[in-house]
């Protein structure tokens, strides 16, 4: 079956079949990663530009590794740019990239809608969203999905609790789409000041984290940005940790075999307790490894149409 999408903006447009296609492709890519020579020529002669307007060592490195394993030529374009002229520099950068004739752009930007903006400006170039503002982070959602799927097998009927700053989280938004599509019952929890007023349009909300994780198979802790406290959105790290931190005590309410996930980097002692982060239920390192496999799968599907490996 050929891959029918031309750009990756968010996972909400994926059918269940699309999601399975990504997961199965990622399995094959994981095998490649286990070889002594971790390289296949699938994207030889293709040029991919990693365009990161926001610092992100993890995601960028993960993409870069995925691109290199597939033999693509890689340009890393870390735009430092002043915050005032963000928009302008994006427009100029887009024109420059177009002139250079790259095949795909992996883009991370603070501003919602950046992928669509580039799709408009760079016709013919595949755009992969590596995170736009608080809106979408589709590759994170797909690697989360892959990790959970590898762990549990079929996810239908399982429950996931996402805990933390939903309001500012692109990870939460994309994960809600991806896991719901696979038949997972997603419940979000967190202080009301960090939850969208219209959260009911997004997912089920349960203010009490204990109730939210009750019967959950997946407990997903979101990273808390300390600026949010400075903005006055929650009173203190201690109060946050005591009520919403993912701790051994909280996990008692979850399913016996529940797993814990986190998009990284973790604030230990804030949204997640160290002993949980490093404990046997933690899938955090799996997620990192899955990230490379899933990004390989996506680059392969988008740039080689899923054929002719």
């Amino acid at each position: 079956m050929p891959w029918k999408h031309s750009h990756l903006v968010d996972v909400d447009v994926f059918s269940e079949d699309d999601l399975y296609m990504v997961l199965e492709e990622a399995c094959k890519m994981e095998e490649v990663m286990e070889r002594p020579l971790k390289k296949v020529p699938a994207l030889r002669g293709k040029v991919v530009a990693n365009l990161f307007f926001e610092p992100s060592t993890r995601t960028r490195t993960s993409f870069e590794l995925a691109e290199k394993f597939l033999s693509a030529d890689v340009i890393n374009w870390s735009a430092s740019g002043s915050s005032v002229s963000k928009g302008e520099s994006l427009q100029d950068t887009a024109k420059t990239i177009k002139a250079m004739g790259v095949d795909a752009v992996v883009v991370r930007n603070r501003e919602v809608g950046t992928p669509e903006y580039l799709i408009n400006k760079l016709s013919g170039t595949c755009i992969i969203n590596a995170g736009d503002g608080a809106r979408a982070h589709p590759t994170q959602a797909l690697l989360d999905l892959y990790s959970a799927w590898r762990h549990f097998g079929d996810l239908r009927g399982r429950k996931m609790a996402i805990i933390g700053d939903i309001l500012h989280s692109r990870v939460a938004r994309s994960d809600i789409h991806a896991f719901s599509k696979m038949g997972v019952h997603v419940v979000v929890s967190g202080p009301r000041s960090l939850i969208p007023l219209h959260v009911f349009d997004l997912a089920e909300y349960e203010p009490d984290p204990k109730k939210a994780v009750e019967g959950a198979d997946i407990v997903y802790a979101l990273r808390i940005q300390r600026e949010r406290q400075e903005e006055g959105l929650f009173p203190s790290i201690d109060e946050y940790h005591n009520r919403w931190g993912v701790k051994t005590e909280l996990l008692r309410y979850a399913e016996r075999n529940a797993i814990v996930m986190h998009p990284g980097p973790m604030n230990r002692g804030v949204e997640i307790e160290s002993s949980v982060a490093d404990g046997s239920r933690s899938l955090v390192l799996d997620q990192v490894r899955s990230g490379v496999a899933v990004r390989m799968a996506l680059l392969f599907l988008y740039l080689a149409g899923g054929a002719g490996r």
Partner: protein, 437 residues
């Protein structure tokens, strides 16, 4: 001297029976006769306007003409021509320029440039407070003498409630309204779109409805206390509109307007357009329910006028990612058509007289500009063709704006002839309707 023949006539009160011929001479309507009884003189020039409606000249209470100081976006000439092309004989220029219109000499600059601009008459407005800083009120008496028709700190609210209260009191003896852009800034700060379903889904920072509602309620309270003349501009939420409705029922001297974009678009439009920056505007596009409430407000009379809030920008300021784009929608040249078209598509929820009123006598009353079309009236006219279909093509605009969410829309119902003091300032009639006998 011009004869306008066979028009339907909205005289500012009602649509008169039958068809009429009007003679415009020396800036006035000097003859007004039923078409069938009219016999033209040999040398008369006349326009055969069979089937079109003649209305008192339309007035836009709210347009950003960006002059002085921001003329890469618009200037008084381009703004005046754009307004005329949009069917307006008068347009009120907002004072949030560089420098702000906060002293008599700047009012004079706008008025003088506006008098010779060649399109619609540009009416200056002044700021409520010096530099729009919300502290000291401006020299309103002298500014009125130079031609200011209203006072507003638009772009932002009058930041201090105290300054607003003083201004409302002071203006009582000046006889000019205070126009308020209602917004509680601590709530809207950093916001991009309405706080609601769409902001929840896409993570763009929301501007709560309460930001506008609190602003409106604050202004109403100060109006009630001072009895000062208050005009609330670009109302976007049903709660704010309801507060105004109740205030009017109590007999307060309050008027209000809404914009075409809040009548045509809602927050979902932003999702469907994949975050088109052309839709970024303040107050933000609200929910479908608000759009319905605004249409009801037009119908029941709570809303006095439709005003464009025409906010042109240079392409570089709009053709960027949504969050980096400036707030504002340019619409002077298609606002009337947009509203008529939507009124048609909605099954004409109220009479056509009401549409004409909302663009002429309604805004006219707000600034004390008489709008009527009788024998002896000033020859300010807007001629409407309710059946003309036309496509919005921003590349042909007289405005300097080249980005608008209306680009490419086909609207039915356009202004075709704009006449200011007996002089044609805009004409899109076909040549064959003009006859020189």
């Amino acid at each position: 001297m011009i004869w306008l023949r066979k028009v339907f006539l909205y005289d500012g009160r009602s649509l008169r029976e039958g068809k009429w011929d009007l003679l415009l001479e020396k800036g006035s309507v000097t003859k007004l006769v039923p078409s069938e009884s009219n016999s033209l003189q040999e040398e008369d020039v006349f326009y055969d306007l069979e089937g079109l409606v003649a209305c008192p000249g339309f007035v836009d209470l709210h347009a950003h003409l960006r002059d002085p100081g921001q003329i890469w976006r618009e200037d008084i000439y381009s703004g005046s021509l754009a307004a005329a092309a949009g069917g307006f004989t008068h347009v009120v220029a907002m004072p949030n320029t560089t420098p702000a219109v906060d002293e008599p000499s700047i009012v004079r600059y706008v008025a003088e440039k506006g008098r010779v601009a060649g399109g619609a008459r540009v009416l200056p407005s002044g700021t409520v407070t010096v530099k729009r800083e919300g502290r000291r009120i401006t020299e309103m008496i002298a500014m009125k003498e130079e031609g200011a028709v209203l006072f507003t700190d638009d772009g932002s609210p009058v930041i201090s409630a105290k300054a607003m209260r003083i201004a409302l009191l002071y203006l009582k003896d000046v006889g000019v309204p205070l126009m308020e852009h209602s917004e509680e800034l601590s709530l809207s700060e950093g916001g991009q779109i309405n706080e609601g379903r769409v902001s929840a889904l896409c993570g763009l920072k929301g501007i709560p409805r309460s930001s506008e509602i609190i602003g409106v309620e604050r202004a109403i309270r100060l109006c009630e206390e001072t009895s000062g003349r208050l005009h609330l501009t670009h109302i976007s939420t049903k709660e704010a509109l309801e507060a105004i409705r109740r205030a009017k029922e109590r007999g307060l001297p309050i008027t209000c307007d809404v914009t075409p974009h809040h009548l045509l678009f809602d927050e979902e439009t932003i999702l469907h357009s994949a975050f088109s920056s052309s839709l970024k505007v303040n107050p933000p596009l609200r929910s479908g329910e608000d759009v319905e409430a605004l249409w009801y407000g037009l119908k029941d009379g709570t809303i006095d006028a439709i005003a464009t809030d025409h906010a042109p920008y240079h392409v570089d300021e709009k053709d960027v990612v949504f969050e980096a784009a400036a707030f504002g929608i340019a619409s002077l040249e298609c606002a009337v058509a947009a509203v008529i078209d939507r009124w048609n598509r909605r099954g004409r929820p109220f009479s056509k007289e009401r549409i004409f009123e909302l663009f002429s006598t309604g805004p006219g009353r707000v600034i004390g500009l008489e709008r009527k079309l009788n024998l002896g009236s000033k020859a300010d006219l807007t001629i409407i063709d309710l059946n003309l279909e036309g496509k919005v093509d921003v590349t042909n605009w007289k405005s300097k704006a080249r980005i608008t969410p209306y680009d490419g829309f086909t609207f039915k119902g356009w202004p075709v002839l704009t006449i200011l003091e007996g002089k044609i300032v805009y004409n899109r009639l076909k040549e064959e309707v003009c006859h020189a006998m």
